[in-house]
Every structure is written in C-alpha cells, then in structure tokens.
C-alpha cells in the first residue's frame, strides 16, 4: 500500500503559503483593532504627512528662489496641455471624428425569454 500516493510536497508548499497568508492577515486584522495601534498609526501618519509637507514647501521655496519650475509645475503644465489637446479634438464635430463609426439600428431583441413586463412584480431574490 502506498502512503505517499497522495502526498505532493510541491502542492503542500503552495497550500502552506495560502494558509500562512490567511493566518497572518487574520492576526494582523485582530491587532489593528487595538486602541494602541490606532493611536500609533495616526501619530505616524500625522508625522509623515507633516514632514512631507515641510519638505515640499522647502523645495518649492528653493525652486522659486532660483526662478526654476518644480516638477509639480511641469506636471501641471503637461496636464493643461493634454486638456487643451483633448478640447481641440472635441471641437471637431463627432461625425468627422468618427467617420467610420458604425451606427447600427437599435432594434436588438433578447435572445430567448422576451422583455420584462412594464410593471413586474418579481420579488427580491438572492443567490
């Protein structure tokens, strides 16, 4: 009789990864319920946000002093240009923008069971 017939160590390893993932997620979610975690999380994000803002303000002031555009200025300019390009495209009438777009007839009917009655009385159902 074989005792190893159904043992596939490779598949077992994959199942272990899945079980570990589920276990860690569950443990972490339970830990995240605690008041201490919440306080620490928000203190961290406040400090992190504050530091980020301070750094960005300092960088903006530096670029301004040098009379150079920052990456944010250039990104905003690029976005503005893209919007202008899109608007220019939209100035062209739709018929000229989509000369080859087909306008099929809106006559399609359902494949089998017909349409729903105008005032259906079907109850809510779940699956």
């Amino acid at each position: 009789m074989s005792s190893s017939q159904n043992l596939d160590p490779f598949e077992m390893w994959r199942q272990i990864v899945t079980k570990l993932e589920g276990g860690i997620n569950s443990m972490a979610n339970n830990g995240m319920n605690s008041e201490e975690f919440l306080r620490a999380l928000h203190q961290f994000s406040q400090v992190s946000t504050g530091m980020q803002q301070t750094f960005e303000k300092a960088l903006d002031a530096y670029f301004k002093a040098l009379r150079l555009p920052s990456q944010k200025d250039i990104a905003a300019l690029a976005e503005g240009l893209q919007r202008i390009e899109d608007k220019i495209d939209l100035l062209v009438p739709i018929e000229e923008r989509e000369p080859t777009e087909r306008r099929p007839a809106r006559t399609r009917q359902p494949s089998g069971e017909g349409t729903v009655a105008a005032e259906p009385t079907s109850p809510r159902s779940g699956s």
């Binding site: 990864v17 570990l20 972490a28 994000s45 809106r106 399609r108 079907s122 779940g126």
Partner: protein
C-alpha cells in the same frame, strides 16, 4: 516486493519532480524577461473620447454587432481607480463581452484630479459629472433612457444620483460590490474613527489625497497579500498566462488615483463616520438622499469573498430601494475578481447580459 500502488506512486512522484525541475528552469529563463519587459497593454477595445473635463473622461465603445439594444449603458467607475479594469485584454474584457452581445457601451473614466480640483465634492460628481455624461450619452445615442452600471464607489455615486433624480432619464441601475452600510466596513471605520483620526488636518494639509495613502489603506486589510502575491508570481513565472494576468492587475493597482480632498473629507465624515447613506441622513446639494426614491429596475451583484465590501455591507441597497423589479446576486469571488477575474467570464458577465437584455429594448 513493492506493491503496484507504490510503483505507480513513485512514477507519479518522479513525474511531478520532473515537472517542477522544468518549471524551475523556465522560471530562471523567464525571470530576466519579466524584469526587463514594458508595462502590459490594456484597454484595447476600440473607443472614442467623447468628452474630457479635468478629472472626468467619457468614452464610447465602437459597436461591432449588426444591431444593438435600444438603451445604452453608462459605466461609472470608482473614483480611486482607472476604468480599464473593465477592459483588461481581448478575451478578458467585460466591455468587449457586452459590445459583442449588442450592447451600446459608454464609460465614465477618471484622471488624477489637479490641484484646482481639490475642492470637488460628492455633490459635483452626482449633480454635475453624472448628469452631464447622461445628457451626452442621450445626445450621442439619440435615446432618452440610459442604464447606469456603477462599480464599488461608482455604484455609491450612481445610487445617490438615482435617488436624487427619480424622474430622470435612468432606465435601469446596476451596481457591483457597492457599499451602503459603511458600519460593516469594520477596519476602515476604526481607522477613520474621529477619536484618533484628524481628518480635517489631513485634508487641509495635503489638499489632494495621494494614491499611496489609498493603496496602503487597501493593503492593510490584507497585510500579507502583497508578499504572498509575489511568492505566487515567482512560483508561476514559468506560466506566461499567469504572469500576463498578474502584470495587468499589478498595473491597475499601480495606477490608483489620488482623490480630491473635499470629496475624501465628505466621504469619510458623512459616509464612513456617520454612515449617513445607510441611515438616510445624507444630504447632497441641500437635498436628502433617500434610497427608497429609486424606483427603476435594480441589479446588485456582490462578491462572496469580498474583503473590501463584505456582502453585509452592500445588502441594504436592495433592501432600501423602492423598486419593484430588484435583484441581489451573491457570486463566488473577490472584490475585483467578480468583475475582471478569469471566472467572471462564466459567472457575472452572463448574468449581467441576461439581466440587461430583457430591460434594454
């Protein structure tokens, strides 16, 4: 003497080892290719940009059927992510599936809001963006009535729009994994508890909520998910299909969008902290939002294993609307796989098509 069973088992194990060695070799060869390859191409179903206004883009997908259903469909994507989740790749595209079946499809997609758009609120989305797009769909299609399909928070916006426009041009409302009872989103609720979370300070400081914050929030629901995903990717590097699908989803996750600060503030304060939509105390544009005002046919599809919007979070939608024709369906899958996973092709998509076809003539 070895039994036949043991011999067969040893052969089978030898085969398995041979397969795994082969995969290990493939992994090494393809691993280099993976590191150096460009981002996957997504959103390939042909479409036309009909309208762009700041954070909003409205697309129309080119019909390919000889005839289409009368009532067009307008997808409203969640504001945190790009709409190409509906159109990942040929053969794995809900849009392509619907277009092939004769539906006329439009999609509201989002772009990162600019600094000037930090003051956008839910009011702008449901009283301006959605009605504006509905009007454009009506003009473009020549049809008065429009079906709206909202995904996740796109469904929240769609439901609020529907409740505030009961006599409007909405023909049918479909929602996927749409949260209504935010009280059931336990972890998110705790993390944004006003006792610890200084919402006003955050929004006033950053103006636009960065996408990294949004992504971190979702990642924290499953802290081991990202590492486990990388382990599985490594394990399946030999499998081109798996890697391609992984990279498409990875790209979608990387392109998470920032959120307008005031929109974020209103969402957290009104929906998350006060649970106002579920309680019936939400006001938008000075008007009360009452889900019972929704009378159009409604389909709400929920995912059984949704870790972001658990089914109990979405159930109140069908419970509270005033529609007579309403249906809630809970299908196997997760928050994203319900809509875009490999099994969506045979689960959710056909269900959606069957529901829509009878209500789109």
């Amino acid at each position: 003497m070895a039994s036949p069973g043991a011999a067969a088992s040893e052969t089978s194990m030898a085969d398995r080892i041979s397969v795994e060695i082969d995969r290990a070799i493939q992994r090494n060869l393809k691993g280099f290719g993976y590191l150096g390859s460009p981002d996957p191409v997504v959103g390939q179903t042909p479409k036309t940009l009909l309208h762009r206004r700041g954070t909003l883009s409205l697309y129309h997908y080119k019909p390919i059927a000889d005839e289409v259903y009368r009532v067009p469909i307008l997808f409203v994507m969640a504001t945190t992510n790009k709409a190409f989740i509906f159109d990942l790749t040929p053969g794995q595209s809900l849009i392509e599936f619907l277009v092939k079946r004769g539906h006329d499809v439009y999609v509201m997609d989002w772009n990162a809001p600019t600094g000037e758009e930090r003051y956008l609120k839910i009011d702008n989305y449901v009283l301006d963006f959605i009605p504006d797009c509905v009007q454009r769909v009506q003009r473009h299609s020549g049809v008065d009535k429009v079906t709206i399909v909202g995904y996740c928070f796109g469904g929240v916006l769609s439901a609020i729009y529907a409740a505030l426009h009961p006599d409007g041009p909405l023909k049918n409302l479909v929602c996927f994994t749409t949260p209504i009872d935010f009280g059931k989103m336990k972890l998110f609720r705790q993390w944004t508890d006003a006792r610890h979370f200084d919402l006003d300070r955050l929004v006033d400081t950053v103006g636009i909520i960065p996408p990294e914050m949004i992504t971190s929030g979702f990642d924290m629901l499953r802290p081991a998910g990202r590492i486990a995903g990388q382990v599985r990717l490594w394990d399946n590097l030999w499998n081109d299909e798996y890697v391609a699908a992984f990279r498409r989803m990875e790209r979608w996750g990387k392109e998470t969008l920032p959120l307008a600060g005031e929109y974020f503030r209103q969402t957290i304060r009104e929906l998350m902290q006060k649970n106002a939509l579920n309680e019936g105390t939400l006001h938008i544009g000075g008007k009360p939002v009452e889900l019972k005002a929704i009378k159009v046919p409604l389909l709400h599809v929920l995912a059984q294993h949704d870790h972001i919007v658990p089914p109990e979070c979405g159930k109140p939608l069908v419970e509270q609307v005033g529609s007579r024709d309403k249906e809630e369906v809970i299908l196997p899958g997760g928050h994203v796989s319900l809509v875009a996973g490999a099994n969506a092709v045979k689960r959710m998509w056909p269900k959606l098509d069957r529901w829509l076809e009878r209500r789109s003539t």
